[in-house]
Symmetry: C2
DNA sequence: GACGATTTAGACAAGAGTGTCTAAATTTGT
DNA sequence: ACAAATTTAGACACTCTTGTCTAAATCGTC
């Protein structure tokens, strides 16, 4: 296999910059090729670093892989919690606000580079490292789902929604909002922004039909006026 | 790596039986280890067959992989269409019938061995074989989604549902019905039957809150009586 | 500019996996 | 039971990869 690769601009400067570059490139290669197929030489080339440097930093392939997953989990979680902080607790236009939230969640946490990589690594190598991914499960869905559920409970308590089980509602919200992206997710492709918007819009509309308070005549009119989008 | 494996009972008898056994074992190993990590010797051992027989049948590793995916796609599609044929076109109890349908879909097509394997192969190796998986996309979601959408359109036309866009409704139905299984899906784990039932039940209830006709007092009563499940 | 730490290129041994080949054993059809 | 086809075990050449080692080059800092 030839290794003519264009590294990120030019060799990264500084110890920490190299560490970063290595983990980044390793994430990409582990995703593309799987753990077994990932080639340290290729990672080194893509990182713009010599192979020995990788061994200096991380010891061996397995430790490098663990570092990659830990890194991705951390960054993704940070992104998700930052986005949850923007949840519309006192919505003006509930539909528009929820669509905005769903959009931010998708664009910043699920469809971005880190999100795609983490998802793929979990899918492909999850069974090989049970403890590592149990950790992800606790730190990821185990913390983010309840956080989102709590926000929906608050909306229900505030009279904006009619919800029996906030945990179920939260999971269904996520399911609806991504309903039209599943196939693309599976193939790891990139999503156009308008596809994400479309799926979020359709998902939120259905969510509100199920859990929203009965609409007034005025908002029903507005709803159907917008329906052609 | 040691290869003391218990093959399926004892060496399979007959030419066709061997072919079957090879493809089956190959599917399992490709899923567990990824394409690069899959070991022909291991596949041979699990299939209860010598390595040379695999080369006699399939030529090389790549052709074997393609044969595996084609086989899985075909079997899964058959299962899905068989299940779609059981869609409740003239429902007695709409909620119960849709839950039953969702359950059959999940148990027979999505959570079964073939479904899990095919999903994982698409996720892990989809980008390596664009044409192969484009074919899957056309034959799979490209045919099954419209088929399901058509059934929902029929329900709407029959006055059982209020749906604007049957395609959207179909995708959302699938999203809702699997909303609670996503994490387990990602880690490739097996699902207990009651988890699948719970997710299907919750999903169908929400689906009907969004798209069902306004409930009569009687059915509203029944609904809330069942809500404690 | 000089010093210590880090990085680099390249060679290297060891191991693993693919795909081929052979001759012997086994199965299948008749 | 015989002949043809298939399967088997094992050896084999070849390639690729990991991880180590070395000596030279480069970097950061004073």
């Amino acid at each position: 296999m030839k290794l003519h690769v264009s590294p990120d601009i030019f060799p990264p400067r500084g110890h920490e910059a190299k560490r970063l570059s290595i983990v980044d490139s390793a994430a990409a290669v582990f995703c593309r090729e799987g753990f077994a197929g990932a080639n340290i030489d290729l990672i080194a080339a893509e990182a713009g670093v010599s192979r020995q440097t990788i061994y200096n930093h991380h010891g061996d392939k397995e430790k490098l892989f663990v570092a990659v997953v830990r890194d991705l989990t951390e960054r993704c979680n940070a992104g998700i919690f930052a986005t949850i902080a923007t949840f519309p607790d006192q919505p003006g236009d509930l539909e528009a606000d929820l669509i905005g939230f769903a959009l931010r969640l998708n664009q910043n946490c699920i469809c971005n580079r880190d999100g795609k990589f983490l998802r793929k690594l979990i899918q492909t190598e999850g069974e090989r490292y049970p403890e590592l991914f149990a950790e992800w499960r606790e730190q990821g869905p185990g913390r983010t789902w309840p956080a989102i559920a709590a926000r929906f409970a608050r909306l229900a308590y505030g009279g904006y929604l009619t919800i029996e089980d906030p945990d179920v509602a939260a999971r269904q919200f996520l399911g609806l909002v991504n309903a039209e992206l599943q196939t693309t997710f599976m193939l790891g492709g990139s999503l156009r922004e308008d596809e994400v918007l479309q799926s979020a819009t359709n998902g939120v509309r259905t969510f509100l039909r199920a859990f929203g308070k009965r609409r007034s005549a005025a908002s029903a009119e507005k709803q159907s006026a917008l329906a052609g989008a």
